[in-house]
């Protein structure tokens, strides 16, 4: 009986598949005139939609869709555990072939592992705009919109070192293990360290981009290096965690902290003097520009290789005004 049941299920599946296959091919023969006047379907695939950064990116992307006339859908992985977002992104990318998207904006969790599916998109003639985190193979995308995380790390680190008086000991607090953004920012920071001979990196640990973990890690590190002068964090969340750790140790003010992203909480901390510097990645503009580039691509307009969204170092001086510079 079980066998018959299993057979029935398989048959249903096969029959529906065949029916659907023939169904979808007939769809293609639809009115070409209709296709031309239809709005372009742009699918934006982000790393998640739980971080404030990416929520801004999504807002920017959708706004661009409304203003410039395209149908923008934002998709993100459901699993937020480290490493699993990649498999889901692959599935989301494959779905764009199913849903016949016109263009895909991709911000990959894993710059290497996403390449095969990008190849599939290429074969399906769906152009790709790479957003925020570079895909490791630049033949897989038409243009890159974003900032160089390397530069972001470099600029912020420099600002931090200047604030420290060009000398002292620092911690480097990394982001999630394997995250491309973290790897690049740290590279940038280390490059800056090369230029300042009196700056010494005494510890480098990961806090997984988490405020809570950073607080624990920095508290622990302060035990070994109580005389540290600066903490370079790969994002604002960890910087805020470091702030709490430094506060708890009673060292507020004697340790300069830097972050990345310039989210609201970090700006508040800058105003209070608890964080020294962060950098604004302009997520809204990143999202906006990426959709704009996608639309230009589809409209056969001239498209640059690299749309660099300017990063802005944010400190006490410009914390209230930096957002006006769109």
């Amino acid at each position: 009986m079980k066998k018959i049941f299993a057979l029935l299920i398989t048959l249903t599946f096969l029959v529906t598949t065949l029916a659907a296959c023939s169904g979808s091919t007939s769809k293609d023969a639809a009115n070409p005139k209709e296709e031309a006047t239809k709005q372009k379907e742009i699918v934006v695939i982000l790393k998640n939609n739980t971080a404030p950064f990416f929520i801004s990116v999504a807002e920017g992307a959708k706004a661009a869709g409304e203003e410039l006339g395209a149908n923008v859908t934002v998709k993100t992985p459901v699993e937020t555990a480290e490493g699993s977002g990649n498999e889901q992104q692959i599935q989301l990318a494959e779905e764009t072939i199913v849903s016949k998207a016109d263009c895909v904006v991709m911000c990959p969790v894993d710059s290497q592992a996403i390449i095969p599916v990008m190849k599939q998109l290429k074969d399906a003639n769906i152009p790709v705009v790479n957003l925020n985190t570079r895909i490791s193979d630049n033949t897989m995308y038409k243009t890159f919109v974003g900032l160089e995380n390397y530069n972001q790390g470099y600029d912020t680190a420099k600002a931090l070192f200047e604030g420290m008086g060009k000398k002292g000991k620092i911690f480097i607090i990394e982001g999630s293990t394997g995250a491309q953004t973290s790897i690049d920012r740290v590279k940038g920071a280390l490059a800056a360290v090369e230029e300042y001979p009196d700056i010494q990196v005494v510890a480098q640990q990961s806090a997984n981009y988490s405020r809570a973990e950073a607080m624990n890690v920095v508290q622990n590190l302060l035990q070994s290096y109580p005389d540290v002068n600066g903490i370079f964090c790969c994002n604002d969340e960890m910087a805020l965690g470091s702030v709490e750790a430094v506060d708890a140790a009673g060292k507020t003010g004697s340790i300069l902290i830097s972050g990345q992203d310039a989210n609201d909480d970090a700006c508040a901390a800058i105003r209070e003097g608890k964080i020294y510097v962060t950098s604004f990645g302009n997520p809204y503009m990143q999202g906006y520009t990426s959709v704009q580039a996608a639309i230009d691509l589809l409209g056969d307009k001239e498209v640059k290789d690299f749309y660099e969204v300017q990063t802005l170092v944010v400190d006490k001086k410009n914390v209230d005004t930096f957002k006006d510079k769109k």
Binding site: M1, K2, F5, A6, I9, T12, F13, T16, T17, L18, A20, C21, G23, S24, N48, N49, T50, T73, K75, T76, P77, V78, E79, A81, E82, G83, S84, N86, E87, Q88, I90, Q91, L92, E94, E95, I97, V98, S99, K100, D110, S111, Q112, A113, I114, I115, P116, Q120, S136, T177, G178, I183, S206
Partner: protein, 324 residues
């Protein structure tokens, strides 16, 4: 006819599969699409193969938490060995051997030394996950190999290679569980290890074999992932352990052991993937997707369990069941 359907172990989740499937055909644009079905099948492959090992472990009333970590480790191993110039066939064999070795260690510690299986597999899970990170130096290792890429992304006779591999593994294991002595032993150990032992089943050997197989299947899954992504990510298997457990349990294999099977796991895995695809194509934001998936699983399990309660078989079995 209905009564006979109800007797099937997998009826609940299979019905759920069909119901959801039909629902999404109507509710989600582009779901009813040949290419999409193939995608769902293809995307189920890696989880399914890893879940087969988990199914075996749960059938003998134990568990293998190290599944996810062996998957990660395998993917990394394939990438690194390939980059080091090792011929692919050797790479694959070495990776399978690694999986088998981890399984062997699990099996021996658990069955021979009688250590708690949660503790042993939890520790092998942690160790393998950590080693994968260390060997890969915290980042995804990219790798290029035509044959590997063919395994992951190629097609044989129009069907994806991974689907062939998965179908083959499933078919073999279903037959093994049904027709071989080993399969019979697995079910009897799951029913009651003491009774099985008394009636001549070599409990230690069989349970160890289960873990070795689980390790091998996890390794196969990792190899497939390495092929599909042309890289080895040390964190790729992080969710696999828990998802595999869910797929197996949803599929009707109970933690008590001795009940359920691979067909159920196939249905369970398909359920998770159909859900994911359907919700995504419906355009539901991912924040709502997570909660929805939880609710659907819950509803399915509740209906399944409630209809189970009407069967008296479970009550009778418990009287003879052992506390292992």
């Amino acid at each position: 006819m209905l009564k006979r359907i109800k007797k099937l172990d997998v009826s609940g989740v299979a019905v759920g599969d069909i119901v959801l499937f039909l629902f999404f055909c109507v509710a989600a644009e582009n779901f009813l699409n040949g290419y999409n079905f193939i995608l769902i099948l293809r995307n189920s492959c890696t989880l399914l193969v890893a879940s087969i090992g988990m199914t075996l472990a749960i059938l003998v009333s134990q568990i293998d938490l190290s599944v996810g970590s062996v998957v990660s480790m395998s993917a990394v191993m394939v990438a690194i060995l390939n980059n080091a110039g090792c011929p692919l066939i050797l790479t694959i064999l070495a990776t399978l051997a690694m999986g088998a070795l981890v399984g062997l260690i699990n099996g021996i510690l658990i069955s021979k030394f009688k250590l708690d299986f949660w503790v042993v597999t939890f520790s092998t899970m942690s160790i393998m996950a950590g080693l994968a990170l260390v060997i890969a130096d915290g980042a995804t290792v990219s790798t290029q190999n035509e044959v590997l890429d063919f395994i992951g992304n190629g097609k044989i006779l129009g069907v994806y290679t991974v689907i062939w591999i998965t179908a083959l593994v499933c078919a073999i294991m279903i037959l093994v569980l049904k027709k071989t002595k080993f399969g019979y032993n697995v079910y009897s150990i799951g029913g009651s290890a003491t009774v099985a032992g008394v009636s001549g089943v070599k409990v230690v050997k069989n349970r160890t074999m289960v873990y070795v197989l689980s390790g091998i299947f996890s390794a196969i899954s990792g190899i497939m992932i390495a092929g599909m992504t042309n890289s080895g990510s040390p964190t790729v298997g992080n969710e696999y352990t828990f998802s595999a457990m869910a797929a197996v349990v949803i599929g009707g294999t109970s933690f008590d052991g001795g009940k359920g099977g691979i067909v159920g796991t196939i249905c369970g895995t398909l359920l998770l993937k159909i859900l994911a695809s359907g919700l995504s194509l419906m355009g539901i934001p991912s924040t709502w997707q997570k909660a929805t998936i939880g609710i659907v699983i819950l509803v399915l399990i509740i209906t399944d369990v409630v209809s189970e309660k009407r069967k008296n078989i479970k009550g009778l079995r418990r009287v003879y069941q052992d506390v292992d």
